[in-house]
Subunit: 245 residues, 2 copies
C-alpha cells in the first residue's frame, strides 16, 4: 500500500445518487470509529453538491462537503450500487473527481461495483481487482483482472467484493493506517463478530454469470450518452460484440 | 415470533438525530433486498420530520415518511447509537411513536442500543434481550435480562447486539418473513460472506463493564430533563444509587 500509517489525514467517501448505502456506511462506520483511537484520521463524505441524494433503499443521504472542498484526500473510498452506478460510470463530474483525488491519494479503494467507477476512469487497467460477484465481466472488459476474493490489493488500489465486503476491507485498512490493536478496538466498538444465520455463501452453487443479462441491460439503458464506453462494456472478453448494444 | 410470514406488509425503520447509521443501514439493506424476491414486504424509514438528521459519522440521513404517515407498521426496527440514543430515551415523541407502532406490530426489533429505547418505553420489562456489550447495565436497570448473544427473541421482540449484529438479525428476520431460500438470495445479493481480517472478537479478553463510566456520564448529561428515568439508569442492580447522578 502507498501509506505507511504515519501522520494521519483525510479519508474521503464518494457519495452519488442511487448508491447502495451499506457500501459506504459499512466502511464509514469502521473508519469513523478511528476517531477515538487515532484522531489524526478524519472521515468526510463528499458529493457533487451538498443536497441529499437518493439511495437504492429509499433513505436519502447528504454529504458533508463538495468535490471542490476535498480535492486531495489521503484516502479515497468509492461505494457501488446497481444501475445508478453504471450511470455514474459515464458521469464526467464523478470521473473528474476520482481522477483528481486519486492523483495524490495514498490509497484508492472501492466497495462492490465502486470498482467499476475506478475502472471507467482508467485506473484499474492491467491491475488485479475485485467487485460484486455479479458484475465481474464489466471489470474485465475495462482491462482489470477479476479476482474472486473478499478484497484485493494492487499497488495503492484496494478493491472489495460486494456490499458487506467493505466492512472487512475497511478493518484491514484501519490496521494499515494505525495498527492491528486499534483496528481490533474499532471492531469491538461495532461488535463485528458476524454469525450469518443461514451460514456462509455456498459459492460452489453460485453462477457468477447469472446477472450478466441484467448487467448488460443496465449498460444499454444507462450509458446511451457514452457510446464508446458502452461498446467496451458490451464486448466479450474475446473482443466480439454482444447483443443489441 | 408474532408473524407467520404470510401476506407481507410494512417494515418501518426509526430514524432519529445522532444515531449510528450502520445500525439502520445494515438491516435496511437486507430487508430492502427482499423487494426482488418478496415484493409484498416494503421498507420505509420514518422520522419525526422529513428533514435530514445528523449521524455519529458526519453523513446526514433523511427519512421517507413521518411518524404520522406510518403509525401502524407490521414490523418496527429501532437502531441505536451513543449519547444521542441515551438522549432519545427521554424524547416523548420517539417514545410515543414506539409505543403506538409496537401495539399492532408483529415484530418489534432493535439493533445495538436501540434496545434501550424499547426498554425506556417499558416494552422489555421482564424479557430476555440484548444490546451493545458496553451498555448492558442500562438494559438490566430497566428490567430486562441481558443475554450476551448475537440476537435474542422473546415474544414478538427481537433484539440484536451492537451495530453490525443488525445484519445477522435482519437475515434471520428475512427468513421468518419469507423463507430460508429467499433470505439466502438476499445474503448473496449483499455478498455477506464475512471474513473479519483480525479474526473474531476475543470475548474472553473483553470486560463488558469497561464502558460503564462513559455510559453513566451520558445518562447524567443527556437526561437531565427526565430525573426519574435518570435515577433508574444510575441505580445498581441491587437498588443502590451510583455516583453523582
Amino acid at each position: 500500500m502507498g501509506t505507511d500509517g504515519e501522520g494521519g489525514g483525510t479519508i474521503a467517501f464518494l457519495l452519488y445518487p442511487g448508491l447502495t448505502p451499506l457500501d459506504m456506511i459499512g466502511p464509514l462506520q469502521v473508519l469513523g470509529g478511528l476517531h477515538t483511537v487515532a484522531p489524526e484520521w478524519k472521515t468526510v463524505v463528499v458529493g457533487e453538491r451538498l443536497q441529499p441524494v437518493d439511495s437504492d433503499v429509499g433513505v436519502r443521504l447528504s454529504p458533508q462537503a463538495t468535490f471542490e472542498d476535498v480535492p486531495a484526500p489521503d484516502v479515497l473510498l468509492v461505494p457501488g450500487g446497481g444501475a445508478p452506478t453504471i450511470r455514474a460510470m459515464g458521469d464526467e463530474g464523478i470521473r473528474g473527481y476520482i481522477l483528481g483525488a486519486a492523483e495524490g491519494a495514498h490509497v484508492v479503494g472501492s466497495v462492490c461495483t465502486g470498482a467499476l467507477l475506478l475502472a471507467a476512469a482508467g485506473l484499474l487497467e492491467g491491475r488485479r481487482a475485485t467487485t460484486h460477484w455479479g458484475y465481474h465481466m464489466l471489470l474485465e472488459r475495462l482491462g482489470a483482472t477479476y479476482v474472486p476474493e473478499r478484497w484485493v490489493e494492487d499497488g495503492g488500489f484496494m478493491t472489495s467484493a460486494g456490499v458487506s465486503a467493505g466492512i472487512d476491507m475497511a478493518l484491514e485498512l484501519a490496521a494499515r493506517l494505525t495498527d492491528e490493536g486499534r483496528a481490533r478496538l474499532v471492531q469491538l466498538g461495532i461488535e463485528y463478530d458476524p454469525h450469518p444465520p443461514q451460514g456462509p455463501i455456498e459459492w460452489e452453487r453460485v453462477d457468477r454469470n447469472l446477472l450478466q443479462p441484467v448487467v448488460e441491460q443496465h449498460v444499454r439503458g444507462e450509458l446511451t450518452h457514452r457510446p464508446e464506453l458502452q461498446r467496451r462494456l458490451l464486448r466479450d472478453q474475446d473482443g466480439t460484440r454482444r447483443g443489441a448494444g
